[in-house]
Amino acid sequence: MTTDPIWFTPPPRSPRVPEAPPERPRERVALTVDGEPVEVAKGATLLDACRAAGREIPTLCYLETLTPVNACRICVVEVEGARVLAPACSRRAEPGMVVASESERVRTARKVVLELLASAVDLSTAPGLAELMARYGARPERFGAAAATVAQPAKVDNELYLRDYGKCVLCYKCVEACGTDAQNTFAIAVAGRGFDAGISTEHDVPLPDSACVYCGNCIAVCPTGALMAKPEHDLRAAGRWDESRQTRTDTICAFCGVGCAITLHVQDDRIVKATSPFENPTTRGNLCVKGRFGFEFVHGRG
């Protein structure tokens, strides 16, 4: 041991052990859902209240990690005294509200919304929607075989993921994930108007010419499979995608020091997809291009 003079002396430790500030009691809001009294924290939404009452409210454009845009209108509920239905995902609970989560008006609205979507959009890869359609008795075929759709060829302009906007329900989630809610890249936005509105880069340029950084956080939030990583898409196209044969392994991404939580989806001894858990407080479902797409090398064993 040398006795080099120490050029940096750490400050003395404070004898006081820091304590977490006392939890302030949060104001509660009392309301009723389907006749049942419920209490939620102030600032909670009707969706929170309905869930607290054990009601299952369907959602499509809602995600815990994103700002609610309440565009899909699947989650509407009836609030007594209100002229129109309220989107549960964004309407704040108010004291004394009387909420009906499955009234006739609510069921009709949800059914028609599902019918409108199913008659215009290819929902074949949207998880859970077939069950919802059955639950509400949706019959999209009543709008006729000639009903206008958003069918269009999938955009394949890079090696990492596809954009199949014939499957897009315009939930705004990808735009939010690309923007201030997660990535702050702003490569895509909603363009056009009305039925012709769609997700687009500026002038619809291919992704490699856009600001896209291929983090794939848009894929993670897409509720219909309109955005899909290339390996998953290729396996599906070949008829070999089979979730029942997949295992999920939670691990830590090894690429950098952040150490994001990562879930590896493995089928037939190969990684077929990488995601991150939405409930993880660090990633909130987000990854970067390396974590999301950088797993092919694992299969490169000589």
Binding site: R92, A109, V113, R142, G144, N184, S200, E202, H203, S210
Partner: protein, 637 residues
């Protein structure tokens, strides 16, 4: 923000036009020429640039007006100047139908083929244009002009109408109405050099104005008292006719009593939603957040509505004064008029009125020497009906897509730029000076108990004298039609559309219906924006319904599913019924439609989607499927 660009450059002309709005760039950082000495040391742009995002739409207008379209180079330059992500700016520019993203000839005729103009032969006019100039959008006159179909231009008293725009170094727009002969329009397009330097092709003669506003000069008018009587271009004339006395009175009373007076008057908004104006002002006055804003909603786009245009064209100072009073009462320092892009004359006169008021110290740092600050800016819309919805209007001013926001929170708490905002319709504001001068109580004594004061009605379609009429609330539909000379040619009345495309159809049995909020509500109808459009026995109701359905499909912003897809399904379903080819039976189609209409009304985000089915629903309810059946749609139109 780390933005990525394509490397498109604006032309020197486009750059100059955009700089005219935004000022010169600071350096290469925000789109200017690179100077290594300056730009290598300090960064410009970024947050200060992004804070001016509300100049996005004015800058897009400048590019469009200069080149006839928003070129990729112009769009990119604007993005650099304002630090806006190109994808977002693309989303904005593709939202407005007056902005083009493909090259377009400099002179464009936007030919109205909406409800009132159809009743006046707009479709024949369009067919003539197809024969003479080619299909809509095709270049004519050697690529110097083209024509497009347009939703209602607010010229229903002078139908049929067209708005002509000419891009260039001195951009102009002018309204051609009424189009007495198709030749006039064809000539304007084949010889674009004949484009006039004024906002109307032919200066409206006194006689023409009298035809549009037959009550000119009557002493019992509150709202139209200056129209056609007082020169709208001179502040002195306005003052001589009693103008700015109301502001003086307001200053004398103080903000609280001004608001109290508004509450007592029971004035409600005239834009369609009928919200009590006094309560709105009160809420903003009480709001603690600063700054606060006054917004005048002049995005009058409801088909059949032209009242706000007449007020702005012929009494612009009254709106400036009323906004100043609102600002004084509520503690706002900045005001915006969001004026629809299709009103060139209103824009010209209002801009002039604001400039004169500013020069006279009636706007600015110390308004009328009373120690408060207030100024007004005009923001031009760019062709989007939805921007008449107050929160969509805020987004449009802020440089975002004109998509409505979810309410609550309401504008009185979270409005323009997220601040407390008073937003009033033009006609609502026109009531303000009169209320102050006569007192809220005497105003409340006018009209009926549930609907106080006077109301403007836009009477159009098949009547002898289409025009704007002011009546105290309580007049019946029949009395109003009598003012307009009754059904044209003495023919029988088939139906009346009340409230515009978002309104309802009533039949001849409604002739005694009092045109009040409570009266129409009881009859399952609406006053909406004051549209009274008359369909005589020869008019093709099915055609009108089809136009309404196509209007809503075109104008839906696309944000929520019930409206975005619902308006398309509504149009398709109506087309099937009109063609006699129902999916299943007519009965099953009607059952489907009932559910569709209910879901649109119940689950859409904003008033557009909530009312998009109301006209067709009412027609089906009152006239049955026969209203749209192929058998009677062969009317002589």
């Amino acid at each position: 923000m780390d933005l990525r660009f394509q490397g498109n450059r604006p032309s020197a002309e486009e750059r100059a036009a955009i700089d005219e709005v935004l000022g010169p760039p600071l350096g290469a950082w925000d789109g200017g020429e690179r100077d290594p000495e300056r730009d290598g040391r300090v960064g410009f742009g970024g947050l200060p640039a992004a804070a001016r995002r509300d100049l996005l739409l004015p800058a897009l207008h400048a590019a469009q007006d200069r080149a006839g379209w928003v070129s990729p180079g112009a769009l990119e330059y604007i993005c650099r100047r304002l630090s806006v992500p190109p994808a977002e700016a693309w989303g904005v520019v593709t939202f407005y139908h007056l902005l083009a993203t493909e090259p377009r000839p400099p002179v464009v005729a936007h030919v109205c083929d909406d409800l009132a103009c159809r009743l006046a032969g707009a479709e024949r006019l369009c067919q003539r244009l197809v024969r003479e100039l080619g299909p809509a959008g095709a270049p004519a006159a050697g690529g110097r002009s083209t024509w497009l179909r347009s939703p209602c231009l607010g010229e229903c008293d002078r139908a049929p109408a067209a708005l002509l725009t000419a891009a260039g170094a001195a951009p102009r727009s002018a309204v051609l109405s009424p189009i007495h002969s198709e030749e006039a329009l064809v000539a304007a397009l084949t010889r674009p050099e004949s484009f006039p330097a004024r906002a109307r092709f032919t200066e409206a003669s006194e006689e023409e104005l009298r035809r549009s506003v037959p009550q000119i000069g009557r002493p019992d008018l509150l709202l139209l008292s200056r129209v056609g009587v007082v020169d709208p271009g001179r502040l002195e004339a306005y003052r001589a006719s009693g103008g700015y006395r109301a502001l003086a009175r307001a200053i004398e009373l103080g903000p609280e009593r001004v608001i109290e007076d508004k509450v007592v008057s029971k004035l409600v908004g005239r834009g369609g939603a009928a919200f009590p104006t006094g309560r709105k002002w009160e809420a903003v006055a009480k709001a603690e957040a600063r700054p606060k804003y006054v917004v005048c909603n002049a995005d009058e786009s409801e088909p059949g509505t032209f009242k706000d245009r007449v007020l702005l064209e012929h009494d612009p100072f009254a709106i400036v004064e009323a906004m100043t009073i609102a600002a004084f009462a509520c503690g706002c320092e900045r005001g915006f008029v969001y004026l629809r892009g299709e009103y060139p004359l209103a824009h010209e006169r209002l801009a002039d009125a604001i400039a004169q008021a500013r020069a006279a110290g009636l706007l600015g740092e110390d308004v009328a020497g009373a120690g408060f600050r207030f100024d007004i800016e005009i923001r031009r819309g760019a062709g989007a009906y939805i921007c008449g919805e107050e929160t969509a209007l805020f987004n449009s001013i802020e440089g975002r897509r004109g998509e409505p926001r979810s309410k609550p929170p309401f504008p009185v708490e979270v409005g323009l730029f997220g601040q407390p905002t008073v937003v009033n319709n033009v006609e609502t504001l026109a009531n303000v000076p009169a209320i102050l001068l006569n007192g809220g109580a005497s105003y409340a004594a006018l009209g009926t108990a549930g609907s106080t004061g006077h109301k403007l009605f836009c009477v159009s379609g098949r009547v002898e004298r289409p025009g704007l009429f002011e009546v105290p609330f309580g007049a019946t539909l029949g009395e109003l039609l009598a003012l307009a000379g009754g059904v044209a040619g003495g023919r029988a009345l088939q139906a009346v559309l009340l409230g515009g495309a978002a309104g309802v159809f009533v039949g001849p049995e409604a002739i005694d219906l009092p045109l009040t909020f409570e009266g129409t509500r009881a009859a399952g109808a609406t006053l909406g924006s004051g549209v009274v459009m008359v369909f005589d026995e020869d008019a093709d109701l099915g055609d009108a319904l089809a136009r309404i359905a196509s209007f809503f499909r075109h104008e839906s912003c696309g944000q929520c599913v019930p409206c975005r897809v619902g308006t398309v399904r509504q149009e398709e379903l109506l087309a099937r019924l009109r063609a006699g080819r129902p999916e299943g039976t007519v009965q099953s189609e009607l059952a489907t439609y009932r559910e569709l209409a209910q879901a649109m009304r119940d689950a859409s985000i904003c008033g557009l989607g909530q009312t998009a089915a109301s006209a067709l629903e009412s027609a089906l309810a009152r006239f049955g499927a026969v209203a749209v059946s192929p058998s009677i749609t062969g009317g002589r139109g």
